[in-house]
């Protein structure tokens, strides 16, 4: 470094102004302040220090001070270079162990476009879930669902309690307990009329989107009824067996209902 400065001193042609000296002082400070930043610079930065001072005509203490400053700057630069090399080496090792290369990342991860094709959106329904008819998973046990079973407990004067729906969704059964007894409400979810006949000897017709109330038992007594449903325009039939029994002894009068509906064609 000292030889190089001597060479530069011999080659210098212009005198040094006070402004240039001030600039030199600023350069030294900036070199120190940017020491930390230098670690983040690219590894391809040149590792040489080229002072461009011209000390021609400068003698005495000022010259000595400037040379010392130049040496200090060179020393700081060399030290930063060593730190940079060390950091780059560590970063390189980290990149190799902790990060994928571009090719490896492409081979490992899907692009946003490919992920859209591969995976369901947050709220998108699965194609096979559409086949379930919107019913909850617990409603399915196995098979194609020709038999549906439901149980419910109704309180005296309470609201209608959902009991079951036929496996194909055509009929929905709810139950209630009134002072007159237990009864079932049958809703025809289809568009065609459905005739019904019960083991109690009663019968009727439920129009499309209509409903009917069918007694199950009188008062708080136990009872059971079998009901046949016969759609007018379809080659199928439904059978509902429905029973009601007094519920557990407690403050409120209740009735336990259990029903099973078969639907089939032939």
């Amino acid at each position: 470094m000292a030889e190089y400065i001597k060479f530069r001193l011999r080659a210098a042609k212009a005198g040094v102004t006070m402004a240039f000296l001030a600039l030199l002082g600023g350069l030294a400070e900036r070199a120190s302040a940017e020491r930390g930043d230098a670690r983040a610079r690219s590894a391809s930065a040149p590792a040489t220090w080229e002072p461009k001072l011209s000390l021609n005509g400068i003698n005495g203490n000022l010259r000595t001070s400037l040379i010392k400053i130049d040496k200090d700057i060179g020393s700081v630069y060399d030290k930063d270079q060593k730190l940079l090399k060390l950091d780059i080496k560590q970063l390189s090792a980290t990149f190799k162990t902790d990060y994928y290369s571009k090719d490896a990342a492409n081979a490992t991860f899907l692009t946003d476009k490919d992920a859209t094709l591969e995976y369901l959106g947050k709220d998108a329904p699965a194609a096979n879930s559409d086949k379930l008819g919107g019913m909850s998973p617990q409603a399915f046990v196995q098979g194609d669902g020709g038999i549906s079973t439901g149980g419910a407990t109704a309180s005296l004067g309470g609201s209608l309690m959902p009991l079951l729906s036929s496996a194909d969704g055509t009929l929905t059964v709810s139950v209630e307990l009134t002072k007159d007894g237990s009864a079932a409400q049958i809703v025809n979810n289809g568009a065609s009329a459905i005739d019904w006949v019960t083991s109690a000897g009663t019968n009727g017709t439920i129009n499309g989107a209509g409903k009917a109330m069918i007694p199950v038992a009188k008062g708080d007594l136990a009872g059971q009824v079998t009901i046949q449903f016969l759609p007018a325009v379809q080659s199928q039939a439904f059978t509902l067996i429905l029973s009601a029994e007094p519920g557990a002894v407690g403050a409120a009068q209740t009735q336990r209902f259990v029903g099973q509906m078969i639907n089939g064609d032939g």
């Binding site: 149980g151 496996a167 039939a237 099973q260």
Partner: protein, 135 residues
């Protein structure tokens, strides 16, 4: 005394149809007549442990041909947790019998509920009986 519902179905082309429905509550091991189609068949059932046994008695003059045997796992939908306590199950059986133009095809579905508190089983059956397809 045997009680069942029997209703005529709308014809399927030229095939007339009949729907039979009945339900019986039986003790395990007991055999019970569930469906009766006069001059055609009688369907008996017996429950033993987890097995439901079906017996088709041919009352016709023609040959009985079982098309599908009942199995353990049958289509069953449970609509509520309260119903699961009754351990519902079901099965189906299909057969043909009768002779000549009176030969019929029967599609029978059986549903079962267990009443553990009184140790009984309720079996419900629905049969749809139609003239057998020509040919």
């Amino acid at each position: 005394m045997h009680r069942q519902l029997a209703s005529e179905l709308p014809p399927d082309g030229e095939r007339r149809g009949l729907a039979l429905s009945a339900s019986k509550e039986v003790e395990p091991g007991a055999r019970a007549m569930l469906l009766l189609a006069d001059g055609l068949f009688r369907l008996d059932v017996a429950v033993s442990a987890d097995t439901i046994r079906t017996v088709v008695r041919n009352l016709s003059s023609g040959e009985l041909e079982i098309e599908s045997e009942p199995g353990y796992a049958s289509p069953t939908v449970i609509a509520s947790a309260e119903a699961a306590g009754y351990r519902p199950a079901g099965t189906r059986i299909a057969f043909q019998l009768g002779g000549g133009p009176d030969r019929v095809h029967a599609e029978v579905r059986l549903a079962m509920l267990r009443f553990a508190d009184r140790g009984t089983v309720r079996i419900t059956a629905q049969a749809i009986v139609r003239n057998a397809p020509a040919g």
